[in-house]
């Protein structure tokens, strides 16, 4: 008797659940399409602010950046993507000082792990969401992030507004 009632209850609960499932898909049929038709919708395309696709070094209007060439980002990069080349100059008061010469970043090697940005003590670099990075040769993937003739921002200036990535201080 038990098995018979089990058979019929199983049958009817099965039918009920099937109908419920079909009602769910029926509602799904009329939902808005989520497909992004990419090349056509470039104008309206919304890429999340936090999307990491290109490492940049923000420069202000005086062509100054915040990189002290400390090399922490280079040390923290798991792939050896970043290459910081410092150079030594003599300041007016006769001290030797290490400043940034070139800051090279290889997009082809980067895994976009964000460790460099997190560990940078002076928030000199940040990731941007410009994702159209395709180029024709691998050599072009290696980019120099510091602009020509740029120099280190003076200490007394107030710290520029931080990137949405946040730093270690947060």
């Amino acid at each position: 008797m038990n098995s018979i009632s089990k058979y019929f209850s199983g049958l009817f609960t099965g039918i009920k659940s099937l109908i419920y499932g079909m009602s769910v898909t029926w509602k799904e049929l009329w939902t808005k399409k989520v497909t992004q038709q990419y090349p056509e919708n470039r104008k309206t395309l919304v890429i999340s602010e936090r999307w990491r696709s290109e490492l940049t070094m923000p420069h202000d209007e005086n062509n100054e950046h915040a990189c002290t060439a400390c090399g922490i980002c280079e040390m923290n990069c798991p792939n050896g993507t970043i290459k910081v080349t410092p150079k030594f100059i003599e300041t007016e008061d006769g001290k030797k000082k290490k400043i940034l010469d070139t800051y090279q970043w290889d997009l082809g090697m980067c895994t976009f792990c964000n460790l460099c940005v997190l560990t940078c003590p002076s928030d000199a670099i940040q990731f941007r969401n410009t994702f159209e990075n395709a180029v024709f040769t691998r050599g072009k993937l290696v980019q120099q992030l510091n602009q020509e003739g740029s120099k280190l921002r003076e200490k007394k200036k107030e710290i520029p507004p931080k990137s949405p990535e946040g730093g270690l201080k947060d």
Binding site: Y7, L18, G21, M22, V24, E28, L29, K32
Partner: protein, 373 residues
Amino acid sequence: MILNYAQPLEVSNLTSWLDTFLRSGLPNFWVLFIEFVLVGALLLAAYAIIALILIYAERKITAFFQARFGPNRVGKWGLLQSVADMIKILLKEIIRINRSDRFLFFAAPFFMIVASVLTFGAIAFGKGLHAIDFNVGVLYVSAVSSLGIIGVLLAGWSSNNKYAMIGAMRSGAQFVSYELSAGFALMTIVVLSGTMQFSEMIEKQQYCWNIFNGHISSMVAFVIYLISGHAETNRGPFDLPEAESELTAGYHTEYSGLQFGFYYLAEYLNMFIIASIATVVFLGGYLPIQVHGWDGFNQAMNYIPTYVWFFGKTGVLIFLSLWVRWSFPRLRIDQLLNLEWKYLLPINLVNILIMVILVMTGLTLTDLFPGLF
């Protein structure tokens, strides 16, 4: 009857005109010959065109169920996508498989497509658009459609590939099981309408479709027929012969080009055939909706040509099949056979008994309300 109303858009006007035209100038033999060739060519053309439309419709509806757009690049709304796919498949190389049984390997797709086309011929598309009308039509359809499984089994074996082999064996077990249920569901309606001929069956459903005429029993038979038909075509939740995750593509893994195209075509057309047989048997075939006494309404309905009614009803059933397909997860092989042998078949047997009682005791709707239906 239906002939009392004007039907200006009907194809039967054209066909009868062609027949009288041919008979006026030619001996009987040549008239028949020309008409046979014409009917054959038209059926094959319809087969291909319906397959193309179905593939497009399936891809679109599938996309809508998944909140996508579906094909929308080739032509307006992607209308030419399936044509492009067809051209691609025709141009592809037919690959020879090493150490396969070549004769059977080449013969297998033909079994599939021939069975499908033979069944396709028995469908009444509209008034006067009915190629094969045996007095044992229902039996003919279930007999001929069972030939396709031989193509599947031979394909699986001759491919010299274990995935294909396992897929073919699963498909064989599934098809043989569900063929039984489909046959019984059709037999239920044969009991109700008292004929196996499709044209007679349609004529009898003018005011009351079979699905309403036999109320409970017919509804159950309809649902069972749809489920088992769905399983026979290896689609939807029952597509485990070609379960991609475990069997690559099942029995047609090794096929390419036109041969794969045959299987593809036959699969889609079988979906159409199942839907159209369900239309003919349960939903009144090509007949428009008619109500006793509402002459104006009947007249208006009759202005819509019968083939539109047929394709409309079939389209609804095909949509239902796609809806089911995208609602439920794939069954396991033991669940599949359980469903057939422990649920559908016993229910079916009881159902056919109930139908016999309904017909014998005069409890069908036409018997209960003779003026209404």
